[in-house]
Symmetry: C2
Subunit: 242 residues, 2 copies
DNA sequence: CGATCGTTTGACAAGGGTCAAAATGCGTGG
DNA sequence: CCACGCATTTTGACCCTTGTCAAACGATCG
């Protein structure tokens, strides 16, 4: 009975992530739960937000993966960053913000409207920390593309993605979902799909990853982390909860 | 007489940039002017803000150039973006933000504390737009590093920097200051100084730039812009003032 | 007038891109 | 349940941009 209830009430990625970002009050958790009843669906490959769209409301991703991307004149579409369950959309600060990038669903994606947060509330703090984390990951993506070679880039990105998914409660025994093609991974990492393929094979040979049925396992994350000097994300120094 | 007064009261880069971002009230312009009396100096090469520092106050650059950078274990120091006069520092959103990057003075830099802006005021809007512009330029830097080769990267960056300086009233007859070494430019663009040097020479041969005494002139910005499909920054669609 | 920093030039190596095609997987309809 | 068509993964051969290493040259400053 308890088992069933536990199963049924498994906290959503959104609630998991947010209650780790700030100590949410029960009422705030409840507001999140209410918001999650109001899901909107975007099928895979759909452009959820177009570049330059006015931002009407703040939303959160509750399931599925999306990519922030730019479409270029030459047809290429570099992916600037990946949005995972629990991540926020449309957090611009000023009155009439417009979307600085387009957002495209990689898999089928469900989003919900974000409940308003009273200034100074734990929920507001969680939103702000989420934004700060996003900035952190943007910077990480930046340095990744500058200084790491293909092998290290992939290793570093896998470690980061694993950590983000774990933070939203989406890893199972070290395994985590990776529902993207090698081509999209290539667009994310600034490589060609051919080269991603060769590099993944090398990592497999080196016993650093196992990938099956869109599930990834890193058997030796420590070795990977040493390899690329990976440092986990922190919003605030000295905060052990993040 | 009028000429003298005009000269003496030449608006600062900060005031110029901000009154173009939002229609500031006279009182707000005055507050900016007051703030500018309170300058703090950082000599060239000084680390103005260290990675992880707590952000105590919001400031603005009023003269000189700085770079947001990361120092890496291998000693390299990729520059993530350049801060020009009129740009803001420390605009994190949450209560106890820490600096996500270190900031280093490229030339001697003067900064001033930012006056507080009432919510909903034109000044607050100007701040928000400045933040949005910064995000825009971060994204531009991003795509620059991904898809453009060395020649295009430099061309694109020069066009953007020229536009930003013009926006702060710092260009004179198409000429603009470029007070950085080729090595720092290389760090900014993800290239080596050797390659920057060769590429600049090529652009000079092609008649696309003239560089003397740390002043840059782009004789044919249109040709450059076509070359790299350069698109000027806009914070809001349909806003002709930006 | 050294000393130091920045620019310029040369020779060479290599990581990754491009092009092309084969192999494998997978959903759909018959 | 099978066959077809399309998407994805894999492999091979070749080439080009950029990095690396090293040294010479030029300018600026105490």
């Amino acid at each position: 009975m308890t088992g069933l209830r536990l199963l049924a009430s498994t906290p959503s990625p959104l609630a998991t992530r947010f209650s780790r970002l700030a100590p949410l009050a029960p009422a705030e958790l409840d507001a999140l739960g209410q918001a999650e009843r109001n899901q909107r669906r975007s099928p895979a490959r759909r452009e959820m937000v177009a570049l330059g769209d006015p931002v009407r409301e703040r939303r959160a991703l509750v399931s599925g993966w999306a990519g922030r991307q730019r479409v270029l004149a030459d047809g290429r579409r570099p992916i600037l960053g990946v949005l995972l369950p629990g991540d926020l959309l449309g957090m611009g600060q000023h009155r009439n913000p417009i979307a600085p990038t387009s957002i495209v669903a990689i898999t089928e994606v469900m989003t919900v409207p974000l409940p308003a947060a009273a200034p100074g509330s734990a929920l507001a703090e969680a939103y702000a920390r989420s934004v700060a984390l996003e900035e952190f990951h943007n910077l990480a993506q930046f340095t990744r593309l500058r200084r790491l070679d293909a092998y290290e880039r992939i290793a570093d990105w896998l470690l980061e993605t694993r950590e983000r998914l774990a933070h939203a409660g989406l890893t199972v025994g070290g395994h985590f979902p990776l529902p993207m093609t090698q081509e999209i991974l290539a667009d994310t990492l600034g490589l060609t799909s051919v080269h991603v393929n060769r590099t993944l094979q090398a990592m497999r040979r080196d016993g650093l990853l196992v990938f099956q049925d869109k599930m990834m396992l890193l058997p030796d994350p420590e070795r990977l982390a040493t390899l690329v000097e990976y440092r986990p994300a922190r919003v605030r120094l000295g905060d052990p909860t993040l």
